[in-house]
């Protein structure tokens, strides 16, 4: 009897329009896109900033419009690291070396912004993980 009651409650929750996962509006999509765009915009600001590392060098000096970053190819084997690496690890490699800075945690909002910007500039290129 108790099990039946729980099932009824669950059924009511699942049927409630407010909680159906696949129900969203154009306004929702716009808002979500706006959230992404604002993070990618922050990424662009960081990309062109001399303040990410310690020596004033900006990512954009070697990677205009984030070209030659190839986000669609990650994770991939990096012979210099001797392992399959993710994109954030290569971003950190650049922060540590040419920018002479300190690596960011993978989930640092700045790292999310970098990855968002890189992927935005690469929009439309098919995913091809592992490609060299």
């Amino acid at each position: 009897m108790r099990r039946y009651a729980i099932a009824l409650v669950l059924g009511a929750v699942l049927l409630s329009p407010a909680t159906l996962a696949d129900e969203f509006t154009a306004a929702d999509v716009d808002r979500w896109q706006g959230e992404f765009d604002s993070v990618a915009k922050k990424g662009r600001e960081l990309w062109t900033s001399g303040a990410v590392g310690t020596n004033g060098v900006a990512c954009a000096q070697c990677h205009p419009n984030a070209a030659n970053t190839h986000p669609e190819t990650y994770p991939k084997f990096q012979k210099q690291l001797g392992k399959v690496a993710q994109l954030f690890e290569m971003v950190n490699w650049c922060i540590r070396n040419p920018l002479q800075g300190t690596a960011l945690p993978a989930d640092d909002p700045k790292m999310t912004a970098f990855v968002a910007y890189i992927n935005k500039e690469r929009k439309g290129v098919p995913i091809d993980a592992g490609k060299h």
Binding site: V57, Q61, P64, N65, P98, G124
Partner: protein, 357 residues
Amino acid sequence: MSRLITRRSVIAAGAAAGTLTTLPISMVRLAFGGTRDDFSFTYISDSHIQQIKGASFVRNWDMGLKRAVAEANLILPEADFVMFGGDLAQLGKKDELDHGGEMLSHLKGKLHCVMGEHDYYLDLGEYWSKLYGPHWYSFDHKGVHFVVLNSIITTDEWTFHRWPTAEQRMLEMAGLDNPNGSPFMVGEKQRAWLKDDLDKVSKDTPLIVFSHSPLQKIYKGWNFWTDDAEQVQALLQPFKTVSVIYGHVHQIQYNQIGNISFNAVMATAWPWPYPDTYAQAGAHVPVLTVPMNRADPFFERDATGWQMIDVNSGRVTARYQLWDNPERVVGYDPKFGKPVDKRYQEAIVRKAPQLHY
């Protein structure tokens, strides 16, 4: 005739002096028949010396220029003169131009400099001019007429009325992919000077023109571009043998437009992607160009390089010496009337690292 510089002789010279073997400079050699003397000159470009604070500068870029200068001084036989192709500084600062200039001062032989946008947009080339003279000029050397252009000027509105400070103007132009930048041009005044200068030269005289930006249109978004390129080309076309050598693009490029052969030189600072690898924009990388190998980011001097250029019968053969990569030789082929890569021109023989995407 003097001995041809070879990679091996450079390596031997470098080893003797305890330095590394290949360095990011461009060795240019002219060799043609008739009564003119063979000679060579060295080409160094795009060093982007960048001040961090006070007496502290970005080590990576410093090392590129230092090594280029060291190598240029080791080459035998000695070059007749040295060209510097522009962008000595990153933000046009006196401290940067002085620091880079101090390194260049160690070069043997006379130095001729080309203005780059990174040298120019802080004080419109005033301090650079104190060090290296006029922004555009010509000279003759052993039967060849050389012209140096300042190809990185832009509209008066952008230059004089757009930005509240000179520092901001410099920063806006320094960002290669910055949409607030403005297209480069040679400009009407300089074109009039060029016409006048060339009117005094026989059309049979080999002509070599140095510019910072390409005197051809490749990708406007990154200013791999000169807005009045066609008008400048029209002034050069009447000459039987014309070569344009340019910096700015930090990569191997070559092309042929009518009588004019084009060659880009390598940077000592860092490499740039080929513009057609930017997924959001089209570009016009010359279809002739077989790209340099993709840069290895773990090797900070990779995809910088140096080259020797022979000019036989007034036509350029560029010998690109690249870090840990096989030599690339790109030369004018009279059969085809354009520069071709001596080994990799045919698509079937190209290597995977030459594929950029």
